[in-house]
Symmetry: C2
Subunit: 354 residues, 2 copies
């Protein structure tokens, strides 16, 4: 298969971890006889610094023309803590998702048996956790109208949702549940928010077309609690943008290592794959960031194009590195292996598996 893959390294440790994912894709290319063409572009703080905008036009164009986008990470503290900053790195990712029509963010959360000891939750609570969060990505309060009065004393953000926005991701969630444990949990705040009541109405109606899937409801504050109390109760969690942001970050730590978690952002015509961890600026350039999440995001990319055997080769190579202890210090504190060494080991294992 020929694939045009746009590479957006971004900020912080993004470039380092993405480089390892590319190594692995090149190992797949060679081993399975595919042709992947990689083209790289600036995004985030790196793009603001060089081009004045977090998502330059040329970057967007490259992504639109590509079959898929492989993304590093975004964000720089020099913008985060400056309330006066006019442009922000995160706008780059938000605009990109919007422009590519990536309306669904999909995040699997799994408790890895070898990492149960690293979870902050007790083993008996976290063991067996296996759920996936479907987060709406292009609507809600992050994209609603923002206002600040002239005196700078009153500020507001609008959270708006339409039936169309809700229904397209609801269908994806119900379809996913059909091939999983057949349960969708809609997380909202329908006792207070009008937008949540629309979510509940639309999702309830769509659920009727999936009679084999059970649908239940949780308020977001309760959901934040249940993720900690009893994460194994969940199968597919469906929710709006900001609730999904909060819950998927909370969910990400219960498995024991955020450095292993990949995600997909899916639209009708494009798809973007990225590790869920942020730009981790303190670690930038130190060869300590865990590349596995980025490498597994490359595996999700291959699955998206039906290359299941190739994706499995990456996953098996990742499992091998975890079993053999060829891991970065976040997994094993005295590890001698860095980002590059782990990336090399996994890439070589892919070739060996064949």
């Amino acid at each position: 298969m020929n694939l045009n893959i746009a590479l957006l390294p971004g900020d912080g440790v993004g470039p380092e971890v993405l480089a390892q994912a590319v190594k692995c894709l090149q190992a797949v290319e060679e081993t399975f006889n595919h042709q992947f063409i990689f083209r790289e572009a600036l995004v985030g703080a790196a793009a603001i610094d060089k081009k004045g905008r977090p998502l330059p036009q040329s970057t967007l164009k490259l992504c639109q023309e590509a079959d898929a986008v492989l993304f590093g990470a975004i964000g720089d503290p020099k913008y985060d803590n400056d309330p006066e900053a006019k442009v922000r790195p995160e706008q780059g990712l938000l605009e990109l998702r919007k422009s590519l029509g990536l309306f669904a963010n999909i995040r699997p959360v799994l408790s890895h048996p070898s990492l149960l000891g690293k979870s902050p939750l007790k083993k008996e609570i976290v063991s067996g956790t296996d759920f996936v969060i479907f987060r709406e990505l292009t609507g809600g309060i992050y994209f609603g109208e923002k206002k600040l009065n002239e005196e700078g004393t009153v500020a507001s953000d609008l959270c708006e949702y339409s039936e169309t926005e809700i229904s397209r991701i609801a269908h994806l969630a119900f379809k996913a549940a059909k091939s999983r444990k057949k349960k969708v949990t809609l997380v909202d705040k329908a006792n207070v928010l009008e937008s949540s009541r629309l979510w509940r109405k639309v999702v309830t109606r769509i659920g009727e077309s999936y009679p084999e899937v059970a649908l239940d409801f949780l308020f977001v504050d309760n959901a934040a609690m249940q993720l900690v109390l009893n994460p194994t109760q969940f199968d597919v969690i469906l929710t709006e943008n900001m609730f999904g942001d909060i819950l998927s970050d909370e969910g990400s730590v219960i498995g024991g290592s955020i450095g292993l978690l990949a995600s997909a952002s899916i639209g009708d015509e494009n798809a973007l794959f990225e590790p869920i961890h942020g730009s981790y600026p303190q670690a930038k350039g130190k060869n300590v960031a865990n590349p596995i999440a980025s490498i597994l995001s490359a595996a999700m990319l291959l699955e998206h194009f039906g290359l299941m055997e190739e994706a499995m080769a990456i996953k098996l190579a990742v499992d091998k590195s975890l079993r053999k202890g060829i891991v970065t210090p976040d997994i094993k504190s005295k590890s001698q292996f860095g980002t590059q060494q782990v990336g090399d080991y996994i890439a070589h294992s892919i070739v060996d598996i064949e």
Copy 2:
């Protein structure tokens, strides 16, 4: 001291647990020679059923005339799961907070040494947790303008904050931090939301008047993660209404029992005290609900009026019941003691302590 206390039992287990708190206040009254006048009124689903409104005018008047309000719980599933319902029980509490000008909700989270085994978090993670959440209560998206278009296909909620709303609760948080571990963590989403950027600007400026208190910032998604990863890092968490709702519910489970947690809602001229648990409708009338949170909310009420010795008498009696195992089944699954028995034991212990 003479105190007029409005009693609002509300829904579900609210009436049962509130009755135990009243018993304890009566034990204090008798033991310490005070005069407490209790007047009861309807709120929530109970008020909708009898008067058609979740906060009848007579209830509001009673609360306005009282020195403080002791609240049970609110909410009924028959309204929650009906997206067409026009009035909702929760509106009663929201309106009451707004009408009484209760702008700050204060929730202590403590890990009780005797309950470490009940926390979903590992002992080494949760042990030593001692923080308090200051949640803004009358602004933000829960109170912003709500819209639904005529076709019922687009819904929105507005999140708005003014400098005044932010600054009054910020001062309370900094003052509390001065007598604690001297750290305030502002939780927001300033990289995306205009209202969050206003919070950060105002709180940063106010922080300059409290040079002995350290101020740091966390995005809400990261905060949801940090509460699970490392709850002992926090002292005072300051945040807006919805973020506070989510984080304080998440925080409530890490101590091991939600049935122990009380809260205060403070305004310039009034104050309301309540357990943080909800109406727990499945347990209604079964004499199994834990009355301790409600009893400890009565202790917070006494502290609010400077009755520190009296409040301590309640807390010591609660500690004794926990040590002796006179607890409801949520704490000790085979316990023979119910809501009333635990309430009686604690009330009697208050008299004995003298």
